[in-house]
């Protein structure tokens, strides 16, 4: 009987762990690539839940099971930290904004002046979703927010804003440059230079209530490795 118990106890660390990662929608493609390679190398399973950082933060607050949280802005992470849900965190990646239009039939928009006169502009919800918050910061700084406010189509997350332009139902959208690069059905009208745009920061965190702390810690470290950062860079993120 005791030997059976010992066998069972030893069996557990050897079973493949499942790491649950809640991540901002803009990180989808880069993370899928990183996750697939990591699964092959380590034998652990990585399960992603992509969405707007605001929605993910809320889900974590309400007790959704997550081991890691990769947010698109500091504010959402701060909210979790205040509630004591964060074990450790670092900020690693950055990004820039891009104005996209449909590839077929899209207007030429050279800068903020012309942007102010589009008929409709899709943004991730500018009061909560990081991509939308950054976009609004940019528009306010360029003093064109008052003209554009009534023409904004708020979407649930940055990928939906991209999709609205892909389908032609919105004239333009402000998304991350990394999103713009992914879609063949949009083209970048212009990129917001880093100096002119808001400071975009992606904090990564290991959560206190992680169910798989050991495996989660391993993946958390891997995300900051040279190999992973190279993948992020290839997708257009700004890495240190």
């Amino acid at each position: 009987m005791p030997r059976l118990l010992l066998l069972l106890l030893l069996a557990f660390p050897l079973a493949a762990a499942e790491v649950r990662v809640f991540a901002a929608a803009s990180l989808t493609d880069a993370l899928n690539e990183i996750g697939a390679a990591y699964e092959k190398a380590s034998g652990d399973r990585i399960v992603f839940n992509f969405g707007a950082s605001s929605m993910l933060a809320r889900q974590i607050q309400q007790g959704a099971p997550a081991d890691l949280f990769l947010s698109a802005d500091e504010e959402k992470m701060n909210a979790l930290a205040q509630r004591g849900l964060v074990a450790t965190r670092t900020s690693v990646l950055s990004n820039t904004l891009a104005i996209v239009v449909p590839r077929v039939g899209g207007r030429a928009i050279g800068g903020p002046r012309q942007l102010a006169s589009v008929a409709s502009l899709a943004l991730a919800e500018p009061s909560t979703v990081p991509a939308g918050i950054y976009a609004k910061q940019y528009l306010v700084a360029q003093k064109i927010w008052p003209q554009l406010a009534a023409k904004v189509i708020p979407t649930d997350n940055v990928r939906s804003a991209l999709a609205a332009v892909e389908s032609g139902n919105a004239d333009a959208a402000i998304v991350y440059k990394t999103d713009a690069l992914l879609s063949k059905r949009v083209r970048v009208a212009y990129e917001v230079p880093r100096a002119a745009g808001p400071k975009i920061s992606y904090p990564f965190a290991l959560l206190r209530e992680a169910e798989q702390p050991v495996a989660a810690q391993k993946f958390y470290a891997h995300l900051r490795s040279k190999a992973a950062l190279a993948v992020f860079a290839r997708h257009g993120f700004i890495v240190p």
Partner: protein
């Protein structure tokens, strides 16, 4: 209520009312054909009409998005010919409400028509009435209570519509932000108190609509008793 809340309520009531009025003629026509006539393909039509009741609303919303978007068959034509957009405007809200509440009205109207004694319609014909006159003077008045009850249910359904609407109209403050969408948005924003206030409004409207609908049905059945 704040100005914003009033605007949401006003938009919701107006779009739901318009949607209900617009579905009445086609719903009555379909309901009558299903109640009084037999024809090839009838069960196919019955099934199609019932689909929005059973399919996930977002699936219906996706189909509408494909159809009504600027690149879709119907939306594209409207955009090119009349420079009219549907997606992300109040028109999409009304259309989503129409599609989702149509089956409810058809069902209620069909039952109402079926409950009209066909003998009465037959006698009216022997008295010289045309089909149109029979419908207007005999069938419709006797089915009226059941039809009104169905309209109230359709109205309540339209007010509660969310899944299809969010895909096809978005949640644009002042333009497409209905009661259901606003509640969802407030919850997303963490403004739970305001969300609960709107929830209260939604419950009151739904309660009144269904209670009145049931009242009409009750009186319709009482009138039938000899």
């Amino acid at each position: 209520m704040s100005a914003e809340e009033l605007q949401i309520l006003s938009l919701t009531l107006r779009t739901a009312a318009l949607s209900t009025i617009l579905i009445v003629p086609p719903a009555l026509a379909v309901a009558w054909l299903l109640a009084r006539r037999r024809w090839r393909g009838k069960s196919l039509v019955e099934t199609f009409v019932a689909l929005p009741l059973v399919m996930p609303p977002v699936a219906t919303g996706l189909l509408l998005l494909q159809l009504l978007g600027r690149r879709g068959p119907l939306g594209g034509w409207l955009h090119r010919t009349f420079d009219v957009d549907i997606v992300f405007t109040w028109r999409a809200v009304v259309i989503a409400m129409m599609v989702m509440s149509f089956p409810l009205l058809v069902r209620a109207a069909r039952v109402a028509f079926e409950e009209v004694n066909p003998r009465l319609e037959q006698v009216a014909r022997t008295l010289g009435a045309s089909d149109a006159r029979v419908f207007a003077t005999i069938t419709l008045p006797l089915a009226a209570r059941g039809i009104v009850s169905g309209m109230l249910l359709a109205f309540a359904r339209a007010i509660g519509e969310f899944g299809a609407t969010i895909l096809v109209a978005g949640n644009i403050p002042g333009r497409t932000s209905t009661l259901s969408l606003a509640i969802y948005n407030l919850v997303q924003l963490g403004r739970d108190g305001e969300a609960f206030r709107l929830l209260g409004v939604a419950v009151v409207i739904a309660f009144l609509a269904v209670w009145t609908a049931e009242g009409f049905l009750r009186r319709s059945h009482d009138a039938r008793r000899p």
